[in-house]
Amino acid sequence: MSGRCCPGQTPSRDIPGPGKRLALPDGAPLPPGAYSTTPGGTVFGTTPGGTRIIYDRKFLMECRNSPVAKTPPDLPDIPGVTSPNVEESKIENNHVQNYEKVSVGEEEQFDMDI
């Protein structure tokens, strides 16, 4: 009522893209404390919010098969939610299947680089 000329409107702007990413071979070591040279993720000194450790989906998925990732963790025993012993192998198999199915098929769009 008071405003005449849409004073509340701000033009929309594009979000700055995440920039370049580096693909790394599986299990490549990360020098501790040397984030500016992070091989596994891309770190920006000038991103909004400061320096960040950034990983894209593809890289995170590749880490899934590392030995540490496969070691069973200590989980509280919650029936139907965590399966520390009995169903472990079954669940792992499912995961592998799902992962393969997904990466081959319907989710190709996630490989596109932004």
């Binding site: 700055p16 990360l30 540490v68 399966s83 989710e107 996630f110």
Partner: protein
């Protein structure tokens, strides 16, 4: 520096003994990986990335909760129903937990997985959440597992680019639909909420006409759904006809 761990300890007293029991089974491994196990002693140790692991920007904690249908959810019973699953600091540690938990699509009943930054409880009342809100996306059955995975990978990988604003993510399994949501600190920060929305569209590959709902936690507290105390995800339990997403 132990403040946040102490605070967390308060609300999972029911789980604590159980965790310790589990831990005794793996003494040999325990020494080696001691620092990766936040629940392994009454004094929680800092979770840090192991050698050659890929550190995350933040540590995160997995939580699980399940509600008995029809039972009023008081603050107390909410805290009793929510269980900490574990905390991780690296990509590899994340997969350790994730690969050994069922996928949300295989959960039964009225259940939620929460993945929040370490030190932030998945509750409105937490200092990090009290002025915050969440984006909510309703999913038809069958999509939750895939969408949840994409959502949390984006969060862990810092794809949202909103500084410190992200608090955590929730997947809620309900009877006729599932809901995923992502919580941020400052509901009034429109630049942030818009950026989160746009990132969600991208990482979940949502069609442009997907209905997304932003809800402040204040609204969730003031307008709770029937029979729902709502510390969890109140809005998910009411108005299920509205904005249902079938993509």
């Amino acid at each position: 520096m132990n403040n946040k761990f102490d605070a967390l300890k308060d609300d999972d007293s029911g789980d604590h003994d159980q965790n310790e029991e589990n831990n005794t089974q793996k003494d040999s491994e325990k020494e080696k990986n001691d620092r990766e196990k936040p629940q392994s002693s009454t004094k929680r140790k800092a979770v840090v990335p192991g050698p050659a692991e890929h550190p995350l920007q933040y540590n995160y904690t997995f939580w699980y909760s399940r509600r008995t249908p029809g039972r009023p959810t008081s603050s107390q019973s909410y805290e009793q129903n929510i269980k900490q699953i574990g905390t991780f600091a690296s990509v590899e540690q994340f997969w350790r937990f994730y690969s050994h938990m069922v996928r949300p699509g295989d959960l039964t009943g009225h259940s939620d997985f929460h993945l929040f930054k370490e030190g932030i409880k998945p509750m409105w009342e937490d200092d990090a959440n009290k002025n915050g809100g969440k984006w909510i996306i309703r999913l038809r059955k069958g999509l939750a597992s895939r969408c949840w995975e994409n959502l949390i990978l984006a969060m862990l990988g810092e794809q949202f680019m909103v500084g410190e604003e992200i608090c955590g993510a929730v997947v809620s399994v309900r009877f006729q639909e599932d809901i995923i949501s992502i919580w941020n600190k400052t509901a009034s920060d429109q630049a942030t909420t818009a950026r989160i929305r746009d990132t969600l569209r991208r990482v979940l590959n949502l069609p442009p006409n997907t209905i997304m709902e932003y809800k402040t936690h204040t609204d969730s507290i003031n307008l709770p759904g029937p029979g729902d105390r709502g510390s969890l995800t109140t809005v998910e339990d009411r108005g299920t006809q509205r904005g249902q997403l079938y993509f």
